[in-house]
Symmetry: C2
Subunit: 463 residues, 2 copies
């Protein structure tokens, strides 16, 4: 890379004479990258799925400072192959069963390419009408596929927005709920606000509450147990809320999860919303992981009761074949978001916005600049239709082995580089999570993975 | 699109029989998109730069719900050309002189493609070591190019991170400053915290303060004037801070801007940092717009005094030929960020993180999931070197015409579709901003744009 062989670099045609966006050069180099990536997908199975490098490996291979001579694309791709690929943990490998599936697809990739290629910044309608309008249309489509109540759709005076991640989406809703409550009871009460979730809830929620200025002592991770399959019990919620109210605190926000990270538990929306309603709390439904499965009629019942919630989100970049990042957030009352998140500086003012006839998505999210994410989401159903929904989910939770043995087993499995899984601790039990759903995964990969588990388990149990 | 001609769609080979990530199909479709985009760049000048569509145009052209039959890529690209392109405001057009330049380049595009193709989620080191390590290396490189003090670099116990936008970066620093102060003086004082900036500061800062729970009445947009070329005066800052302290408030955070949005004003860092230091405030330098220019020796002096700041950020997606989104944030004290933003759920724990020998970027930002942004930033200097820095900046601020005439003039210019500029209001004067720097811009575009301005001005002045 650069300085590694800087002496023979000067002989290359200097690419700096060409415009950085020359169409024909773009064409030439673009084709090369497509071939590079096609080969990568063809070969991805052959790489150790969990990167085998040691901390600091790349520092040793890269020059100490920015290369001084431009390199041809051929050299850069060679560098990527030699130095970057070994440092990747291959999320697209069919042997990746860790964390969550970050699925992708040709359709999703093409949409991302178009978005990157156009490189428009659709913060307000006028800044690129197609970016805003396609987004409003696509979130309504997706909402209909999920049979979300009409009140969450633009066609029913709610609406959706595409943000990067669930972390951002939840932060936006907490801030909206916070400001609504502050305007009712006064800013000095912020210190009393309480946010509720279960002890299985993703750490994103606690972090969002913390960023929004909620007192860290006022985040309640309510205990769940095996008796409810680790779902949040409405009774536990109510008794905690009662206690807090008695102590002079103000219940603000409940996050219910559909598909928790450790065990894919489903919180019962209808009864939780009923409790929340009694106390005037905002309810957000985090369906980051499992939400897209609810498009299938046989899973739709998992979000029954969503009509009682204020907001609902899912990650299209998890099971929905959309590359990172893409979180869909729907709200019943967009004005609550907009009140908290809008800005109106003179340099962004324009007739269309002043007319209030258009959506300006900058007021629905944390960031001003935003990518044209709806392109990938739109191309997806256009190109794939029914294919999208064929992937299922299977989390095998093994509780057979004792904690320490399980920990050793997982480490030994992952060090092999053949498969990559991660773990969770549920009620003190260390469990191995086996998250199936990578785009390239086939039955044979699951079978092989199970064999790997058995082989390593045999070795560990026999020592 | 879909239902528009759904009767002749069924005859196409259904793409749903193919794996959504089939390498050969990826290759075939990928090449088509590259050609589509190369043609787009070749032709972009021919489109009206400001989209001419009316609100609601796309709804009329798209099917009411998700298409039921998969469409071949050819049809999708035709749809993009017919229905999406007319709704774009072409940020990559050499006739785009509005807002700010969101430049891109072949190198930036290739990096983004690789990042999308690999689709790894580098939230912690182990989740893809190359993503973390390349990022730490590239931010140090870029910091050295800017001659940032060593204390902002990993090599000097500070460090940098690539986030999406300045909005996120500033929010992270305000939250870090807030929590540091809260831990010193107690949480009940949050309501007293004050954030300072000039009246020229980007709205992102006020919004970030609001999200972080700072009292909206405690954001001070200190007045600037022509006498300081709209830079924040240290005396004005000090007298405002004194007033606030007397009133029992707590000065928390100062945002100084290098290159303001309306007039590219430069706040004097050294003297502002001196005032901030007297009151124990965190200083952030927002160089979103003009920061990358400071790599050029002749502009470096604009950030003189940065050694007194706590954090510094710039948008590589503005002038640095990196496609959206990419904000580089450097901090002197990463532990302040990490204290506020870290989470450590069991399901993300791993040996490397526990060893504390690695950087886990999830703890440096709002979001958990994150794109592999360093790829595009790395390929950029590798492929382009000196080319990167040839673009200059020119903001022509015309104050000749009265406000109303200027407003009319801008509207008439933009409606022509030939060029797109935006405006600002500075001390009550409506000025037309002419932001030059698009990747494809040549001298002739600037000359033509000026002719367009003159023609329209003549018409308006003669009526
Ligand atoms: C249930 C759940 N919520 C939230 C998240 C966080 O999502 P993101 O990384 O998009 O913020 C995840 C997974 O990462 C998840 O599984
Ligand atoms: C000076 C300045 N600060 C902040 C921003 C906001 O940047 P972002 O859209 O990345 O949040 C901009 C431009 O948009 C800017 O010019």
């Amino acid at each position: 890379m650069g300085s590694l062989n800087s002496d023979n670099v000067t002989s290359h045609t200097s690419s700096s004479n060409i415009s950085p966006l020359d169409p024909e050069e773009f064409r030439r180099q673009g084709h090369m990258i497509i071939d590079f990536l096609a080969d990568y997908y063809r070969d991805v199975e052959k790489y150790p799925v969990l990167s085998q490098v040691e901390p600091g490996y790349l520092q040793k291979r890269l020059p100490k400072s920015t290369p001084h001579n431009p390199e041809p694309i051929e050299t850069i791709l060679q560098d990527v192959q030699e130095h970057i690929v070994p440092g990747l943990t291959h999320w697209q490998s069919p042997n990746f069963f860790a964390y969550f599936q970050c699925t992708s697809s040709i359709a999703g990739f093409l949409g991302e390419m178009l978005s990157t290629g156009f490189n428009v910044v659709g913060f307000s309608w006028i800044a690129s009408p197609a970016a805003t309008e396609l987004e409003t249309i696509v979130v309504d489509w997706l909402g209909e596929m999920l049979e979300l109540p009409k009140s969450f759709l633009f066609s029913g005076n709610g609406g959706g927005v595409l943000q990067g991640t669930t972390c951002e989406a939840v932060l936006c809703t907490i801030v909206a709920a916070r400001d609504q409550m502050l305007s009712q009871i006064g800013r000095e009460n912020l210190i009393k606000f309480v946010v509720y979730a279960s002890d299985q809830t993703h750490s994103a929620i606690q972090k969002a509450a913390q960023i929004a200025g909620i007192h860290p002592m006022n985040f309640r991770a309510i205990k769940t147990s095996k008796s409810t399959s680790y779902a949040l019990s409405p009774d536990s919620l109510r008794s905690q809320v009662c206690k807090d109210v008695e102590a002079g605190l103000v219940p603000l926000f409940l996050c219910a999860t559909v598909g928790t990270t450790s065990t894919a538990a489903i919180d019962p929306l209808e009864s939780l919303c009923a409790v929340a309603k009694d106390y005037g709390m905002w309810v957000h439904v985090d369906a980051a992981y499992a939400g897209s499965a609810c498009i299938c009629p046989e899973f739709r019942h998992f979000i029954d009761g969503v009509e009682g919630a204020n907001s609902f989100s899912l990650n299209a970049h998890k099971w929905f074949l959309t590359s990172l990042d893409c979180c869909c957030l729907w709200v019943k009352d967009p004005s609550a978001l907009i009140k908290s998140l809008s800005t109106n500086p003179e340099y962004l003012r324009n007739k269309a916005s002043d007319s209030k006839q258009v959506v300006d998505y900058k007021d629905w999210q944390i960031t001003l600049s935003r990518r044209f994410r709806s392109l990938k989401l739109w191309i997806l159903p256009s190109a794939l239709s029914e294919t999208v929904y064929k992937n299922g989910k299977l989390d095998m939770v093994s509780e057979e082995l004792a904690n320490e043995a399980n920990r050793k087993l997982l480490e030994s499995i992952n060090m092999s580089g053949c498969v990559f899984m991660t773990h969770a601790v549920v009620e003190g039990v260390y469990v191995i999570r086996f998250a199936v759903g990578a785009t390239l995964v086939e039955e044979r990969h699951v079978i092989t993975a199970w064999k790997v588990v058995q082989e390593h388990a045999n070795v560990i149990l026999s020592t």
